[in-house]
Assembly symmetry: C2
Homo-oligomer: 114 residues x 2
């Protein structure tokens, strides 16, 4: 079979990553399981923030059973950075940390008056 860029080897459609990168989507494509063709925005975000080659390297360095979680957290992080280029995920961390501090103070007060 002749391989064509943007076609999944063996028939099916290419994953979202190979489609965006306009490359042949091999049977063992490292992106395909985590970046399906019907959710192109996910790969678009990680590509914009981390770059395809860094995402590829990061996934390859992890055991297969952990790659799905890593893909999901990369998408989460990338979306946060696209939404808030200044603070990204760190904005959520800092706001949650403030919530924890406030709740601890409230709890100490509530317990003191029991």
């Amino acid at each position: 079979m002749r391989e064509v860029a943007g076609k999944r080897q063996g028939g099916g459609s290419p994953c979202a990553a190979c489609k965006l990168l306009r490359r042949r989507c091999a049977e063992d494509c490292v992106f395909a399981p985590y970046f399906p063709a019907d959710q192109p925005h996910k790969f678009a975000s990680v590509h914009k923030v981390f770059g395809a080659s860094n995402v590829n390297k990061l996934l390859q360095e992890l055991p297969v059973q952990h790659r799905s979680d890593a893909g999901a957290t990369l998408v989460y992080e990338a979306n946060a950075r696209v939404r808030d280029p200044l603070y990204g995920c760190v904005g959520a961390i800092s706001s949650l940390q403030q919530q924890v501090d406030a709740l601890q103070t409230q709890l100490a007060i509530a317990q003191a008056y029991r």
Copy 2:
């Protein structure tokens, strides 16, 4: 003055980014204010996780007065991903979210018994 790769134009030493990338550090280098030569690990992390060109683009797209915060949050995020390639920053978010939930429950109980 002849410009040499890895030398800061005008004399001084190149910033950590230009040193790692082995390029001339111009007077108006976008990295220099946020990645000083004496903290090479900061740029090494963001370069590994985001890639120098993505960091450059992100900083350039922000007003100058916000770039220092953006640089710091990128370093924080990159260090988290280097430490924990699976969850990165998202690990901290999920653990803080659990803390918030637990504290809210404890507070509700403490308030009910007042």
